[in-house]
């Protein structure tokens, strides 16, 4: 009997000790994210298309960082007008867009600038999250760019997506750090109903019926 009491006592002690464990916060991933242009937040929910009146803004994080052999660098970038960005209120996003990037590099040694052309296709289909009310995190497939974390500023019919600094490798020198700001406008052709895209005309038809 004494042995049983001892076992019960030990069991209770072990139980109480176990009670001090349990779930705990994970390491915070987004505590120190600094965007080159501070995002202002807002509401990203809706269907967005590239704003054809504003090209993608791309800039070097530190203009003085240019290697000495490069006189200047122009990063000519635009979003294909057929792109589509969908953020549903239930936390799902769907993105298909082509980012055309044309770095024009002027070198001292060359008479004509060096023009490169690359297309980066952005595809996302899955959940997204909003952190601190101004940062979007999502899983997005890209070829060159890192766009899994985007700052955003949303006004009534405009949405700006701000990337974190991306790196452009230049052999023999430090990587060039640059960032994008993509300008989107609310789609007038398509609306979002229950996470399903439908043309706005048919929505009107439905309403009429």
């Amino acid at each position: 009997m004494t042995k049983n009491k001892y076992m019960i006592f030990v069991g209770l002690i072990l139980f109480v000790v176990s009670c001090h464990q349990g779930l705990a916060p994970l390491e915070m991933l987004y505590m120190n994210v600094d965007f080159p242009i501070p995002p202002e937040g807002g509401d990203p929910v809706g269907v967005w298309v590239p704003d054809t009146t504003k090209p993608v803004h791309v800039a070097l994080l530190d203009p003085d960082q240019l290697p000495t052999i490069i006189d200047s660098l122009i990063l000519d970038t635009e979003l294909d007008k057929n792109g589509l960005f969908l953020f549903s209120s239930s936390g799902l996003c769907s993105i298909y867009a082509v980012l055309k990037i044309e770095p024009i590099v002027y070198l001292q040694s060359l008479v004509n600038p060096l023009v490169l052309s690359m297309n980066d296709t952005l595809i996302a289909d899955g959940p997204y999250e909003i952190i601190d009310d101004k940062i979007l995190t999502l899983s997005i497939m890209t070829t060159f760019s890192q766009l899994d974390t985007l700052g955003f500023t949303s006004r009534q019919n405009d949405l700006e997506l701000i990337s974190l600094p991306n790196s452009f490798p230049v052999e023999g020198f430090d990587d060039i750090q640059f960032y994008y700001v993509m300008y989107l406008t609310r789609s007038i052709d398509q609306v979002l109903t229950k996470n399903v895209l439908i043309p706005s005309d048919s929505k009107k038809d439905e309403d009429r019926s």
């Binding site: 109480v16 349990g22 916060p25 994970l26 915070m28 990203p44 929910v45 549903s88 239930s90 996470n195």
Partner: protein, 750 residues
């Protein structure tokens, strides 16, 4: 169909009323009256059960402990008196025509609940040690002692039972986690199903906990007596019956939630709290005895958008047309208004709502109104007839409320469902011979569902059941039962699905000695898919859910062997081994709809078996000075579905469950503590990971609760602490349990 049920109900009531009145005039027998009191103090024991063995006659003592049984034929009988917390007593009596016998029973106290009487197992009152299936009784005292505000919370201490967030109940691992939809445990309120007709979940909020007399938990398949959804077990909530005496009971409480363990987990700087008041009044209006109960609770919630205001109101009217013909009308209304928290945002924000659409919060209003008329007629000491009607109207409305009305519409209803249910059940108990009872009956129910997410559906259910129990050689009881259920569902006026299911049950009980009782049973079970599982088309958080009208019934075969051993009048052990095989289990599965959207659909996919054992030990040291209940349930579940998951444990089940309850009584002071341990669940649905962040972060449950009380004759004061060590565990995946909680409770009763 709706009007046909009303007509059947009215015709049966009228028939019983007229026949009962006429027939009662011709019965001439003796009366047995008496009083049941505590042996030590002489105080009455209200609610004590009185059974005239060898007949179907019985009654319950009133608040003064008095009882009366009339129209007893001359002869020799054994009368048995029992009450939870007291040792039962049997006495031989001889009745003579036209004469009255008066008896006084003085019962000694004990904590051994096996001396209780349950009605659920066989649809008539029976002592627990005479049953062929495992049964637990939760007395009303446990509800008061733990300040239980929702009846499902008290079930967390019943051996082998667990409740998850959303009121979902599982008995011995019968269910995993499915957001409360399609319960495999049937919940009854005085024998009437309280399941919602659309998604077959449980309306716990509509049940007033202050009027509960006891909760009976039957484990293993109950489909042979109760039909669909009783495949995992049956929980019957028995409420107080209205009496001819007046009494009043007021309970009020106020409690608070501690802040979360980590500063970064806080979603508000305010102190979260909850409070509530219930008032029960029992009185009589002339010959009509009445019980009125009202209950209001409000909580800020401990999670974001998890505040609730709950109100319920219940009346019960009783009237004896003749001593043998009794009418009862139970009516109630419940409303639950508040937020909607399904899962967290992530483990760094576990108290933030992840299931709300961005920029919105989901608000829910659930209402339920019920009317349960019943007529019971003891035609003779061998024949008993009851007719129970049920009319139920329930609705659920979910609306999206904008957090910023400047940029979004203020409110928008995106889910709603209303259900109208009408049903009637007829049951007859016939004492075929002094040791054999036959129970036969039929049940008819119609549900009409009108819903945004389920569309329009009409369900028609019919069933017929029969059970016979025979006692042989004083020590051996055999039970055989069978039930046929037929159900037809019409959806959108086009799709029609009809199913017929036959369920059988066989049970044995053997009294090996006065302190040793052996039991075994084998039963078939089934569950017809709920309207919600078949026809749902909605989104929950980021999850799309698609319909599957072709869904089939789940089936099971469960078996059990058990032994009750009394070591002394103050110590008992109940052991049981069980084995259940499931076929066609319904689980949500990842799927693609015709529009190529990815979501989930309920499908018949799982073959499985669950085996295990359960051990319950109760002891009473120094005559209730110190009492202990310990239970351990081991579950070994295995997925037998062909494919890669073959052999894996079933999802959302804990292998080990331990509950320990201790009470120390130094009259008038009371002290108690409870310990709950559930091992970490071994598997979850993989697809949840795609939209619920950190859902795979799981831990075992270690919960400790403390109770301090001071009780006098007319009032009691209690202070309770839940989750004493502020252990961070889960009530369901991605849903944190409350942090440490303290509550003060005051009870006044006259």
């Amino acid at each position: 169909m709706k009007y046909r049920i009303y007509l059947i109900l009215l015709a049966l009531f009228y028939f019983l009323f007229v026949w009962g009145n006429l027939y009662s005039q011709n019965i001439r027998g003796s009366r047995i009256t008496g009083q049941i009191v505590e042996a030590r103090s002489g105080d009455p024991i209200p609610g004590a059960n009185v059974l005239l063995l060898g007949t179907i006659m019985g009654t319950a003592a009133d608040r003064q402990g008095r009882f009366i049984i009339v129209s007893v034929s001359p002869g020799e009988y054994t009368i048995m008196v029992s009450a939870i917390g007291y040792k039962k007593e049997e006495r031989r009596i001889q009745t003579v025509a036209g004469e009255e016998i008066h008896l006084v029973f003085r019962l000694e106290e004990t904590v051994l609940l096996m001396d209780g009487i349950a009605v659920t197992a066989n649809r008539y009152q029976q002592s627990l040690d005479k049953l062929s299936t495992s049964m637990d009784i939760i007395p009303a005292q446990e509800i008061t002692n733990r300040n239980i505000v929702s009846a499902d919370h008290v079930l967390r201490y019943a051996p082998g039972v667990n409740t998850l967030e959303g009121g979902q109940v599982t008995i011995r691992g019968s269910s995993g986690f499915n957001f409360g939809m399609g319960s495999r445990v049937l919940v009854l309120l005085n024998g009437n199903p309280v399941m919602t007709g659309d998604n077959w979940s449980i309306n716990w909020y509509a049940i007033s906990t202050s009027t509960i007399k006891q909760i009976e938990v039957m484990k293993g398949s109950g489909s042979a007596l109760y039909g669909s959804s009783a495949m995992g077990g049956v929980i019957n909530i028995i409420t107080e019956v209205p009496e001819n005496e007046s009494h009043i009971h007021l309970r009020t409480f106020t409690g608070f939630y501690n802040h979360p363990s980590y500063k970064e987990w806080r979603w508000t700087d305010k102190r979260n709290h909850y409070e509530g008041t219930s008032l029960d009044i029992s009185t009589h209006l002339g010959p009509i005895s009445t019980l009125i109960s009202s209950n209001y609770q409000t909580t800020t919630g401990y999670k974001e958008n998890d505040d609730h205001q709950i109100f319920n109101f219940m009346t019960s009217l009783g009237y004896h047309f003749t001593p043998n013909l009794h009418f009862n009308l139970m009516t109630g209304y419940g409303r639950n208004r508040g937020g909607f928290f399904v899962y967290w945002k992530d483990l760094n924000h576990p108290y933030h709502n992840g299931s709300d659409p961005y920029g919105y919060r989901t608000r829910t209003t659930i209402k339920n109104t019920y009317i349960y008329p019943s007529l019971t007629y003891v035609m003779s000491q061998r024949f008993f007839l009851s007719v129970r009607g049920r009319i139920n109207k329930g609705s659920t409305v979910d609306l999206k409320q904008s957090k910023n009305e400047k940029i979004r519409p203020a409110e928008e209803i995106f889910r709603s469902s209303s259900v109208n249910t009408q049903g009637v059940e007829i049951q007859a108990n016939y004492q075929v011979n002094p040791q054999g009872i036959l129970v036969v009956g039929s049940d008819l129910q119609a549900d009409q569902v009108e819903s945004i997410q389920y569309s329009h559906a009409e369900v028609m259910k019919k069933s017929y059941f029969m059970q016979f129990e025979q006692q042989l050689w004083d020590v051996f009881r055999a039970t055989f039962g069978t039930r046929y259920d037929w159900e037809s569902v019409r959806w959108k006026d086009t799709t029609e699905v009809a199913v017929g299911e036959l369920s059988n049950k066989f049970g044995l009980n053997l009294t090996l000695s006065s302190g040793t009782h052996f039991r075994c049973s084998l039963g078939e079970g089934f569950r017809v898919p709920a309207v919600g599982e078949r026809f749902v088309s909605t989104e929950t958080g980021a999850l799309l859910v698609f319909p599957n009208p072709a869904l089939q019934s789940e089936k099971s075969i469960s078996s059990e062997m058990g032994l009750i051993q009394y070591f002394s009048s103050a110590m008992m052990l109940d052991m049981a081994v069980f084995y259940t095989k499931y076929d066609n289990l319904i689980e949500p599965q990842l799927d693609v709809d015709s529009g190529q959207d990815v979501g989930v659909r309920f499908k018949n996919v799982v073959k499985a078996r669950i085996r295990g054992f359960e051990l319950t030990y109760r002891t009473d040291w120094q005559s209730q000075l110190f009492s202990t209940q310990f239970s351990y349930t081991y579950i070994d579940s295995k997925d037998l579905s062909p494919g890669v998951e073959y052999g894996a444990p079933l999802k959302y089940r804990s292998k080990h469950t331990i509950y320990l309850t201790n009470d120390l009584n130094f009259d008038p002071f009371q002290f108690g503590f409870d310990i709950r341990y559930l091992s970490q669940i071994e598997r979850i649905d993989e697809y949840h990971k795609s939209y619920i962040k950190d859902i795979d972060k799981l831990v075992p449950t270690y919960a400790v609760a403390l109770r301090l009380g001071y009780a006098r004759e007319h009032f009691s004061l209690r202070f309770l602490v839940d989750n004493l060590f502020q252990y961070n565990y889960l009530v369901s995946p991605a849903n944190m349990a409350p942090p440490r909680t303290g509550v003060f409770q005051l009870n006044i009763h006259y």
